[in-house]
């Protein structure tokens, strides 16, 4: 088996990078792929919590690259998907304790056993970011439709093009169709017009992500979740399926009061479906 390594990055923190990593990884595994997700956010690990695996960590990424354990010992099997594994970041070390060369070596070895190696990149563009992108052939850049996130995504895309990454695709996260309609938020076309990269997914803002994270279960396992369904489609696109990318739309109003609120522009509902 010769898999590929995909780095999930963003520049700005807090845009949903770790959530995207967990969900894309889980959705790829649901398609019968063998998937390893690697948290490289050393000192600030969170991927284990999002996946609900925080109590199963014995060895971490630093243990592997420093030779304190074998890769197999650090791979934590996911509770839900059959062939999904996590290598957690070390929590008590700093980002400089591993090198890009070590991470490249690890990913090449994982590629022998897995179809996909998904690397969760730390925020920022310092050494941790450079390490994470050095091992990847492809990148998913996560942004939200906000000025600061898009600006940082542009910087990251420039750095990716100057690196060994062959292809970068954009995930626009937390789109609120109602705010777009009201003229209060940029839509996907505004973002794509600004950034020199193609989209691979447009994820609506969805409260179920918070519930899923609280439960330690990626939202792709919730079939009623609009964001979960979009992450499933993103995984399918990564896997080679040709699925059209469609902007999220608002949930249709269900009551007369909703319709009146919509008409007056004071509808407070924020969820959307694709």
């Amino acid at each position: 088996m010769s898999g590929k390594t995909i780095v999930v990055t963003s520049g700005k923190g807090g845009v949903g990078k770790t959530t995207a990593t967990a969900n894309v990884g889980a959705a790829l595994a649901l398609r019968s792929n063998r998937v390893a997700v690697v948290d490289t956010d050393i000192g600030l690990r969170n991927l284990d919590v999002v996946m609900g695996l925080e109590n199963r960590i014995v060895y971490d990424l630093v243990d592997v690259v420093e030779g304190h354990c074998r890769i197999e010992q650090a791979l934590i099997k996911d509770k839900h998907a059959g062939e999904l594994y996590l290598i957690a970041a070390a929590q008590t070390r700093d980002k400089d304790c591993i090198t890009g060369k070590q991470l490249i070596g690890l990913c090449r070895r994982l590629e022998d056993d897995f179809d996909y190696v998904i690397v969760d990149c730390p925020a920022g563009i310092e050494q941790g970011f450079k390490n994470a992108i050095s091992a990847a052939q492809e990148a998913l850049v996560v942004t939200t439709p906000e000025v600061s996130a898009i600006r940082d995504a542009d910087r990251v895309i420039g750095l990716l093009y100057a690196s060994s990454v062959r292809e970068a695709k954009l995930i626009i996260n937390r789109i609120k169709p109602e705010m777009v309609r009201q003229g209060n938020m940029m839509d996907a076309s505004d973002v794509l017009e600004t950034l020199a990269v193609d989209a691979i997914g447009l994820v609506p803002s969805d409260d179920r992500v918070i519930t899923a994270t609280n439960n330690g279960t990626p939202v792709v396992y919730d079939p009623t979740s609009p964001s979960g369904r979009e992450f499933v489609r993103i995984a399918a696109r990564i896997d080679g399926d040709h699925i059209p990318i469609i902007a999220p739309v608002e949930e249709p109003p269900t009551s007369l009061m909703d319709k009146v609120r919509n008409l007056m522009g004071i509808n407070r509902r924020t969820s959307a479906h694709v």
């Binding site: 906000e146 000025v147 898009i150 600006r151 542009d154 910087r155 420039g158 777009v180 009201q182 003229g183 209060n184 938020m185 940029m186 839509d187 505004d190 017009e193 600004t194 008409l263 007056m264 522009g265 004071i266």
Partner: protein
């Protein structure tokens, strides 16, 4: 209610969405020019070297830089040639 509808309609041309789009595009233009600056000195030397293989140039009178015009960024170069008279 009608006031609100009229207000919604009149602010469409200058919505937060449009303002955000213009701001981020402007910020990115500036960022791209700043990021490119360290590369420019290398590029300048290479260009002068290449031109110097064909023409006699006066490097001290060379202007070389990025200039933003609207949505576009231009690489602007002005090289004075030595021993050339019109």
């Amino acid at each position: 209610m009608f006031d609100r509808l009229i207000r919604n309609r009149s602010r469409r041309d200058n919505t937060p969405r449009q303002v955000a789009k213009e701001r981020v595009q402007s910020a990115i233009r500036r960022d791209r020019m700043e990021v490119a600056a360290p590369e420019l000195s290398v590029l300048r030397e290479r260009m002068l070297y290449t031109i110097g293989e064909h023409l006699s140039v006066a490097p001290e009178f060379t202007e070389f830089g990025l200039r933003g015009e609207g949505d576009e960024v231009f690489l602007v170069s002005r090289v004075r040639l030595q021993n050339h008279r019109r």
